[in-house]
Amino acid sequence: MRHIISVLLENEAGALSRVAGLFSARGYNIETLTVAPTEDASLSRMTIVTRGSDEVLEQITKQLNKLVDVVKVVDLSEAAHVERELMLIKVRATGKDREEMKRMADIFRGRIIDVTESTYVVELTGTSAKLDSFINALDAGLILETVRTGVSGIGRGDRILKV
């Protein structure tokens, strides 16, 4: 099962390596990991997408909570939430492909944020599945470069992760 775990942790040097080290030492899987300070600069918020059985997930949350720098841990996927990932994708845009690329970006509600004679950079936001679909919808030979942020997620409604 795929899970999205949100972690609030002290914004201290080395905090990221403690989390990353925990995952590698205990053989847990990380699909994506994003981290940045919150509105309170003393705290960082990390979103980790991982896969595992219920038992493994229980251990992951317990082990994360055990880290001294970790303030709070929530498995977002346990309840209603929204998730988004941002991708920048550079594609070849020449000849007839130039128009096709523009159309594809529009269909996926992407924005072209850099233009040269032969390339576009498309900015696309959505669930990871949507980004995957966009990649699949393009002619693989036209993709020059992609970069993805990994998933950020937040609970819906009154579900709030705060100190």
Partner: protein, 566 residues
């Protein structure tokens, strides 16, 4: 008052009532050593290798309720200390390790004796800190002691760059420390405890499975009260020995890979396990799938939630400090407890298992290691502190020395670190200066920290080294005999030193004991005539002796191999 970082370090240790620091000087910690020199409240124990400093601090902590403190220099000082830190971490020992570091402005430049201390130690500490500003030093040390001693205890490393120890700031030691990210649970959930008590009353084949947490939380007396009240059998893990009196009739002995027949059978066939500060690890329950075949209920009390439902599914988890949880349980049982009548039948079954006498052995022409430990138990009246190294001798000590009190049995259970025995004995002796201390070891393990004989001389530590010498890495040989068709790859130890002369060259007393009839007189002599000397007792034992019963790795708890003729 303005102070240098080095002064602050010493003042903080004094504020924490630290009496002993085990360490080894070097470039990065010279300012701190200079301040140590100027005071006499804290005694520094100079070891001969940083690994031993950490082991000694670890045993100092295990054998008392004090926090062990070690002080090492940067780079190799730290890397040498890592084995000691990992050993303490695996056994949840509260400890603070202070490490020198190159000056902040050199960090990351591959400076002389630089290493990434925080990075190297991160996976084997409860927490670690790099102090970059002298203003953070006092609060960081306060946090280090707080974290090491609360919740599930563990070692905390504080990495202090040299310029931080030279810089000055205003010193004030914080009285308390608040950390929003660290609030360990103490009291167990009352509803869960009530549920547990209900299950205890319904159990027909119960067992109390008591681990190292009983010792760490000083809950031994509470456990004894509870066990007496319930009338249930108790089994101890290797780490839990002494947490419940070994000579008590309700004690069915140690369980696990080299547990007694009755302990393993009782554990496996119980319909209710009350697990206290134990973690169902591989050396205890063997194959978890085999273990899960038997239907049963499990109550698990542990201060660390991640220890619960890690290897076996638990029915009633209780997160809390064992001392407090047992106290709460006892309160609930104040009006009396009536066990299910079927428990009497269960005891009959257990007595039948006990009748197998699975620890029986024959003392023949050669000295048997079991015999040495039994005699050691008799000669010391069962009241000595026993440290051990790792291997066959460790298991013999665990099986045959009957520990009635907690904190008397000091060994590396989790990491299984060869070489701890002698430095452990040193740490024990500093924490318990009037008590007899024996280190049960083998000729393999003792050589891993043999240099500490020098420290023992410097501080006149009258440790008795019980060297069970079979000329073999005994446990390796045993596995090779049993599982590798007797291909004894690299398990024979040649070119052994003359341990008697070796001991004498360090200024100690050496004895070589080769005949069974000499075992007892030699031990008596060591503990009376040489009471105040370190005595290295080299027992030449039967090289074919094996540790039984044995649950082979990956096997089920009931699939025990018993000694021949049993």
């Amino acid at each position: 008052m303005m102070m240098t970082g080095a002064e602050i370090v010493i003042r903080c240790l004094q504020e924490e009532k630290v009496e002993h620091v085990f360490g080894y000087p070097g470039g990065s910690v010279l300012h701190i050593y200079d301040e140590l020199f100027k005071q006499d409240q804290i005694k520094h124990i100079l070891v001969r290798h940083e690994q031993a400093a950490v082991h000694a601090a670890d045993a100092y902590s295990r054998s008392s309720r004090k926090v062990g403190v070690a002080l090492v220099t940067s780079g190799p000082g730290v890397t040498n200390a890592v084995t000691g830190i990992a050993t303490a971490y695996m056994d949840s020992v509260p400890m603070v390790v202070l490490c020198g570091q190159v000056p902040t402005y050199y960090i990351g430049q591959d400076a002389f004796q630089e290493c990434d201390t925080v990075g190297i130690t991160r996976p084997c500490v409860k927490h670690n800190f790099l102090v970059k500003d002298v203003k953070d030093l006092a609060i960081t040390l306060k946090k280090a002691f707080h974290i090491a001693t609360t919740g599930r205890p563990g070692p905390v490393v504080v990495d202090i760059p040299k310029d931080v120890t030279a810089n000055k700031c205003e010193f004030e030691y914080p009285k308390a420390v608040q950390m929003r990210s660290y609030n360990p649970v103490v009291k167990g959930h009352l509803g869960q405890i009530k549920k547990a008590v209900q299950l205890l009353a319904e159990a027909r084949r119960p067992v109390i499975y008591a681990g190292g947490g009983v010792v760490l939380s000083d809950a031994a007396e509470k456990l004894t009260l509870l066990a007496r009240k319930l009338g249930f059998p108790v089994t101890n893990t290797l780490m839990g020995l002494g947490g419940y009196p070994a000579t008590d009739k309700q004690n069915v002995g140690m369980l696990g890979m080299h547990g007694s027949y009755e302990a393993n059978m009782t554990m496996h066939y119980a319909d209710l396990i009350l697990a206290l500060g134990a973690r169902f690890d591989d050396r205890v329950i063997g194959d978890p799938e085999h273990f899960a075949e038997e239907p049963r209920k499990i109550i698990h009390v542990d201060i660390d939630p991640s220890s619960i439902s890690k290897r076996v599914k638990v029915d009633v988890p209780i997160v809390g400090n064992l001392f407090d949880v047992l106290d709460e349980m006892l309160k609930l049982l104040e009006d009396g407890f009536k066990a299910d009548p079927a428990v009497a039948d269960w005891w009959r079954q257990i007595e039948e298992w006990r009748g197998r006498d699975s620890l029986r052995y024959k003392q023949g022409q050669h000295i048997m290691p079991q015999y040495v430990v039994e005699k050691l138990y008799e000669v010391t009246g069962g009241d000595a502190f026993i440290t051990s190294d790792v291997g066959q001798h460790q298991m013999f000590a665990a099986q045959y020395y009957k520990f009635d009190k907690p904190r008397r049995w000091i060994n590396s259970g989790g990491l299984g670190t060869m070489g701890v025995g002698l430095p452990y004995a040193m740490g024990v002796r500093f924490a318990n200066p009037d008590m007899p201390v024996a280190c049960v070891t083998g000729e393999g393990s003792i050589q891993m920290c043999i240099q500490e004989l020098s420290t023992c001389k410097q501080f006149e530590l009258p440790i008795k080294i019980i060297n069970l010498n079979n000329g073999m890495l005994g446990m390796v040989r045993q596995w090779q005999e049993m599982f590798y068709s007797k291909r004894y790859s690299q398990s024979y130890v040649t070119s052994l030193p003359d341990f008697v002369k070796l001991a004498e060259s360090y200024g100690h007393v050496g004895m070589k004991i080769e005949r069974p009839e000499d075992v007892e007189p030699a031990l008596k002599k060591a503990f009376t005539e040489h009471k105040n000397d370190l005595v290295f007792m080299d027992f030449i034992i039967d090289p074919t002796a094996n540790v039984f019963p044995m649950v082979a790795a990956g096997k089920g708890l009931t699939e025990m191999i018993l000694a021949e003729g049993l």
